[in-house]
Symmetry: C2
């Protein structure tokens, strides 16, 4: 009975149970097709030996790996947490599993990850941002792996995206500051050369300024990695310059928080001395003082939609359709109309 199995396989189990491998496989995969009596006997063996079938072998023949890959640029920013969880819950319900990978804002790392995902023959890939070597898209298409870009939209129709409109959202925020009377508006955003979301938001900021005939001043624009300490330092510099901005648009809440905390350290009042608008609407911005105005991004809806698209593509072979989900500028306590010049103010 106890023929020391080097490793438990269905073949070995079949032999122990005195049945064929097919019966064991069926017991695990389609229990209703085997006689209850046989089934019980096999299941008892399976449990006794804590048998966990080899997934590689299993997906190998059946052609379905049941895995969807997600590539995020960082796991430090909790905005991706909500997104990831939304995806995960949807996939789980569809009996697919999610493989989370962190590209660390590195194109090279991302390339390696995509290759690995193809190697493991995932049934779908959810990407962050659209800007990457076209060869990678080709590769995914060549292997008929459905993919979808999130968090930004590609100008190419051949690259399906489920995202919000970064430009419109950033434009709305910038315009709001202008409508509040601000003319000198600083910008802190991610590094545009490696982050297409940052690039699009920066672009929108510039074009709104242009539309309102406000000169673009590179002195008050700062591209920074998303680390709170460096963002806060960058904000400090903007705030303490000779001719400081009266408002700050931070294209990311991490940076908005960095700016707020810099103001707190420097005893600069928000919003009285300077207005701040963030981007992402992280839960934390609601509890700081003052609560930050921010562009709410539909991370959850975007995640659900992306997951659904992958499910439909994997299961029903439905091509992924691009989709825009809305953002909402939420005004809280970190913004106010610009203080009128002293002369007119003291009424």
């Amino acid at each position: 009975m106890k023929d020391a199995p080097k490793s438990v396989t269905i073949r070995w189990l079949a032999q122990q149970a005195g049945v064929s491998v097919a019966t064991v496989s069926r017991t695990l995969r389609h229990p209703d097709t085997v006689a209850p009596q046989t089934r019980e006997k096999i299941l008892k063996l399976v449990n006794r030996h804590q048998f966990v079938p080899d997934g590689r072998a299993a997906t190998f023949s059946s052609k379905r790996t049941g895995v969807v890959g997600l590539i995020v640029p960082t796991i430090s920013n909790s905005i991706y947490a909500e997104f990831t969880e939304a995806i995960q819950s949807r996939l789980q319900a569809a009996d697919l599993s999610l493989l989370i990978a962190n590209a660390n804002y590195s194109a090279g790392t991302e390339r390696d990850i995509i290759r690995k995902l193809i190697e493991s023959r995932v049934e779908g890939v959810i990407l962050t941002g659209y800007k990457r070597d076209a060869a990678l898209y080709d590769l995914l298409r060549h292997y008929r792996i459905p993919f979808v870009v999130t968090w930004s939209t590609s100008p190419k129709a051949s690259v399906p995206a489920i995202s919000f409109d970064n430009r419109a959202a950033a434009a709305e925020a910038t315009e709001m500051l202008i409508k509040l009377g601000h003319q000198r508006i600083g910008l802190i955003c991610g590094i545009a050369s490696i982050n297409d979301r940052a690039a699009q938001r920066l672009e929108a900021y510039r074009s709104v300024l242009a539309r309102y005939k406000i000169p673009f001043d590179p002195e008050i624009v700062s591209e920074q990695p998303f680390e709170i300490e460096v963002s806060s330092e960058a904000a400090s510099r903007l705030i303490t310059m000779k001719n400081p901005p009266t408002a700050l648009f931070c294209a990311n809440d991490i940076q908005a928080l960095g700016a707020l905390f810099a103001c707190q350290r420097l005893k600069i009042r928000v919003p009285n001395d300077i207005s701040i608008i963030g981007f992402d609407d992280l839960p934390i911005v609601r509890v700081v003082s003052p609560p930050l105005s921010s562009v709410h991004v539909p991370a959850k809806r975007m995640g659900h939609a992306a997951a659904d698209a992958m499910i439909d593509a994997a299961r029903k072979n439905i091509p992924v359709k691009s989709q825009i989900v809305g953002t909402e500028l939420i005004m809280r306590g970190s913004t106010m109309p610009i203080a009128p010049p002293r002369s007119r103010s003291k009424s």
Copy 2:
């Protein structure tokens, strides 16, 4: 030449190149063992057809999947980001890849994940926390998958852990508050029943109080999920009660931040009216006002050590040895000696 391949495989490539499958496989796996001329011919084909070998098939015969699984309880808390990145960089250098999974503080989800990891025959598993059904440890052992517990240590010697000492660290923080003269010390921590780190920190808090003969008051102890909004609400309640604590130990920086922001909203001065000590030493606590005192946890070193252990176990079959890495209580501006009784200023 263009015999429409339903899918590109080494067999098909071999046929195209007029060589055997072994030669193709060798070209990709051990290029130096094939004649340069043959190699070039095959590589050209590989590139032309964007061939990406099936990883399942590859690891299937070679017995090495080259994957290590990491299970974190949440991806929202950025403390796990630094940890994850430390692991990732070490594994990458050893040519192993990391599969990140999010258990969402659910034992059931974690069980499913562990099963999936075993199904995909990972070569190592890094777990967060020690408290889980013993059957899961048995399963991992049964499949000879090296594993290591992080972020807390198990009382069982059979469960190797690479962690810091939660009890000692929490005790040090609590004791520090007592030494600053505080006698009424509130605690906000995670939900002990589902989080063994929170449980151990709570336990340490109680035992230090006992040692100093300070009565334990459940009224000023609050177990909360790690969401900044609910933590902040919980802190508000503690702070505004009739007989509020003069110090708060938050066994997690998210909660410490929640508490700080609650104080800011309620115009309670930190540290003058209330001292706060956090836990984790997130980058953000250094930039808020006042900067928070916090227990620095060696997430990076812990990650490196855990990854190294997995590498050694997978590659050299070295059993995982338990290890304790140190924490450090870092005092910043959120703590001060208790103010004399009448100091809660009404002005």
